[in-house]
Subunit: 416 residues, 2 copies
C-alpha cells in the first residue's frame, strides 16, 4: 500500500473542554513528525475555517507553544457549531470542501468534537470517497458530557469531573460552617446524559458531597424531589442538604425544570421563575422550607478549569490526537479514536481503539440506571469505580506570576 | 513580668475563607508548644461555642490533622455571625463569657475574623479588664474582602484573588471560542470594598481578563455601564466583551444593581429582574445588544477554592496564628495581627505588626480611587503591583484518590 502524501488539517468543533487543545497538541506534534504529511494546518473555527480557507500554518508555531497547548483550556483555533446538511439534500458545502482539499492537497482530515462532529466527519468522508478524492478522515473525541458510544469514556470528561468533585468538596466545607439549616443546590452541565452530574458522587465518596443527585436519565418530578429533600433535611440535626442536579433534568413529558418553574409561577408564586434548574429549585425549596438556600451554577468553569484538570485526561486527550494521525498515516479512515479500559496489575490503563465513525455519530451513551440506587437519587460503587481512575494526577499546569501560563499561538494564516 | 498561665481558646467567626483554618493551625500548633498555656481549646461556632461551653480539646488532634488544616477551606470549628451588644446596654453575654473563662481558667483568647470580629475581641477584652480578670486577647484577621484597616492586606484575600484571576483567565479562553458576538458578565463578592473584583485585573494583566471592571467604590449608573459596554463591543471585530462587576455596586443613592433591575422591570421589561448583579446586567445587555450573553456568579467557590490557594496567603495566615499566640504569651493584649509590606532585595516579604483592636474594628479600607483609570472602569499598574505578590506559590494541597485531602478533626468536646 502506497503511503498517501499530502497536507493535514485539524479542526475543533462544539463546546470546548479543558483538554481539547491537548488533543490538538497531539495531532500537531505527531503530524509534524510524519514524512508523508507535507503541511499541517489548523482550521480557524472548525469546518467553517476550511470552507472559508482560513487556516493556520502550524509549522510556524514554536515547540514551547505546542507544549503549552496541552494545558490550555478551550479551543485555541476557535470552535464552531455548524451542522452539515445531508449531501443528497444540498451538497454546496461538500463541493466547496472538496475544492479546498484539492487546492491545498489536503489528504488528512482530523476533527475534534462530540456526536455532531463525528457525524460531520462521517459525511465528509463519504462525500470524498464518492467523489474519488482520497482523503483519510479520523475523528478525535471530546466532550465533558461523556456521552459518545462504544468508547469507554471521552477526553474532556475526566477534567470536568475532577472540577465538579473538587469544587463540591470545597463548597461542602463552606456550606457547613454555620449550624443553621441550609439547602444548597448545585447545577451541573449535561442536557441528556448525567455523567458530569454523577461526578458529584466522587465528592460524596470522600465524605464531602451531595446528599441527593438528580440525573437527566431519570424522569424528574417536583413532588419526589421535595419529598427527598424533606427526608434528608429532617434526618440531620443541623438540617443541611446539598443537592446536585443536572441542567438536563426533565419530567416524563420532557419539560425541563426551568419550564416547570415558569408554569408554577402562575399558580403558587408571586414572581416568575427564571434562570436554570438550580435557581428555580432554589426558589421552590426556599418557599417550602423557609431556610437559607444557595443556588450555584458551575457555568463555564466546569468545562474550562484547566488548573484542576486530570493528568490522566490530559494525557489521554494528547494520545487520542497522536493516535488519530498514526492511524490515518497507516491508511485507516472513517474512524474515531476511542478508549478501551484495561487494568494492568490491577491498575487502570486505557488503550486506544478505532471506532467506526458511523457508530460514534449521533448516538448518546447515558449513565446506566443500575449504577443508581433504588430511589434513583444517588449513585452506587459501580460509578465510583468507573469514574475515579479518570480524574487522577496533577495537571502539571505551568504557572508564571502566580497565574497559569497558557499557549498563545501565532496563528499565521495560510495564504489563499 | 510574670508569665500568665492558663488555657487558650480560639474561635472562628464570619464568612469563611480558604485559609481561615491555616490560621487555626498556626494558633493551635504554637499554643500547644507554649509552656504557660495549660490547655488549647477550639470554640464550636465562635463566640457562641464559648457562651454555650462547647469547645474541643485540641490536644486530642493528631499532628497530621493539624497540618492538613493548613489547606482545608472554610471554618473547621464552625463559624458564627454573632454581634455582641454594647456591655453598657446589656452585659448578659459578657458576664457569661467571664464565668466560662473563669471556670476553665481561660487566659488567652484568640479570635479569627473580619471587622465585626475585631470589634467583638475589643469589647470582650475591655470587659475582662474592667472586671479585673487578666486575659490576653489577640485578633487574627481574615477576610476575602481585604477591607481591614492599617494592615497591608488580610489573610484570605490572596487565595480568593488567585481564584478570581485564574478562573477569569480560563473563562476568557472559553468565551472566545466562537466568532460570534458575546457579552460575559462575571459577578464577584464584596459588598463595600472592591478588592476582590479588582483582582480580575490580574487576568487582564495576563492578556486574558475583563475589558471593564466595576467596583463598589464608584457610584454605578446603568447609562455609563451601557455606554462603556457599547464602546468595547464596537471596538472589537468579534464583539466580545467581558465585564467584572462587584456584587456591591450601587448608584449614588445606594441602590444595588439588583434593585435597579427590579424597578426597571416595571417599565422596560416584561419580566421581573431577579438574582444578583450579573444576572440583572445580563438581562439588560441582552435586551440592548441582542447577542449571546453569559452571566456568571463565582458564588461560594471564590472563598473556598483551596485547590487554587496562594501559598503566600496560606503561609501568612498560618504565621498570623503563630504570631498571635507569641504576642499574647509575651504579654500583649488588645491587638490584631497585621501585615506590613517590605521588600528584601526587591522581593516581597510581609512582616507582622500589632494593630490596636480599636483601630482595626469596624473600619473599612477600600480600593484607592487613584488606582483606577480615569473612566473608573479599569485598574492601573499600582493595583497589579499591590496584588501580584499576594497570589504567589502553589498551595501544596495534598491529594488522595485524585481529590483534595482535607482535615477531619476528631472534635473531642471538653466536658462541661
Amino acid at each position: 500500500m502506497a503511503i498517501l502524501k499530502g497536507a493535514a488539517i485539524f479542526g475543533q468543533s462544539g463546546g470546548p473542554t479543558s483538554v481539547i487543545n491537548s488533543s490538538a497538541s497531539g495531532v500537531f506534534q505527531q503530524a509534524l513528525k510524519e514524512e508523508c504529511i507535507t503541511a499541517v494546518y489548523g482550521a480557524a473555527h472548525g469546518i467553517r475555517g476550511i470552507l472559508n480557507e482560513e487556516f493556520y500554518d502550524i509549522s510556524k508555531e514554536t515547540q514551547e507553544q505546542l507544549d503549552l497547548l496541552k494545558n490550555t483550556p478551550s479551543s485555541a483555533l476557535g470552535s464552531v457549531r455548524y451542522k452539515l446538511k445531508n449531501a443528497d439534500v444540498d451538497d454546496t458545502d461538500y463541493k466547496k470542501l472538496l475544492e479546498v482539499f484539492k487546492k491545498y492537497n489536503i489528504r488528512y482530515f482530523f476533527y475534534n468534537g462530540g456526536n455532531d462532529s463525528m457525524d460531520t466527519c462521517n459525511k465528509i468522508s463519504k462525500f470524498m470517497a464518492k467523489s474519488g478524492y482520497e482523503c483519510k478522515v479520523i475523528g478525535v473525541p471530546k466532550t465533558i458530557d461523556n456521552d459518545l458510544s462504544i468508547t469507554d469514556h471521552c477526553p474532556g470528561y475526566g477534567s470536568a469531573a475532577k472540577y465538579v468533585a473538587t469544587t463540591i468538596m470545597e463548597v461542602y466545607h463552606d456550606a457547613n460552617v454555620y449550624d443553621t439549616p441550609m439547602i444548597t443546590i448545585i447545577e451541573i452541565m449535561g442536557r441528556n446524559a448525567g455523567w458530569l452530574t454523577a461526578a458529584s458522587m466522587l465528592a460524596a465518596y470522600k465524605g464531602a458531597g451531595p446528599d441527593l443527585i438528580y440525573l437527566p436519565e431519570v424522569p424528574f418530578t417536583l413532588e419526589k424531589f421535595l419529598s427527598d429533600v424533606k427526608k434528608v433535611y429532617n434526618s440531620k440535626l443541623d438540617h443541611k442538604v446539598i443537592v446536585a442536579v443536572s441542567e438536563g433534568c426533565k419530567d416524563a413529558e420532557g419539560r425541563y425544570i426551568a419550564e416547570m418553574g415558569q408554569s408554577l409561577a402562575k399558580d403558587a408564586f408571586g414572581h416568575a421563575q427564571l434562570g436554570g434548574a438550580a435557581s428555580v429549585l432554589g426558589d421552590i425549596v426556599k418557599n417550602e422550607f423557609k431556610c437559607k438556600v444557595r443556588s450555584i451554577e458551575f457555568s463555564l468553569m466546569q468545562r474550562c478549569a484547566a488548573h484542576i484538570g486530570s493528568k490522566t485526561d490530559i494525557e489521554e486527550a494528547f494520545l487520542a490526537g497522536e493516535e488519530a494521525v498514526k492511524a490515518a498515516v497507516q491508511g485507516h479512515t472513517d474512524y474515531m479514536i476511542g478508549f478501551e479500559r484495561t487494568y494492568v496489575d490491577g491498575k487502570y490503563k486505557a488503550k486506544t481503539i478505532l471506532v467506526p465513525l458511523a457508530d460514534a455519530a449521533n448516538t448518546e451513551k447515558t449513565v446506566p440506571l443500575e449504577w443508581m440506587n433504588e430511589e434513583k437519587n444517588f449513585l452506587k460503587q459501580e460509578f465510583i469505580d468507573y469514574a475515579l481512575p479518570l480524574i487522577q494526577g496533577d495537571p502539571g499546569l505551568p504557572f508564571e506570576d502566580g497565574l497559569p501560563k497558557f499557549a498563545k499561538l501565532k496563528k499565521v494564516l495560510v495564504k489563499k
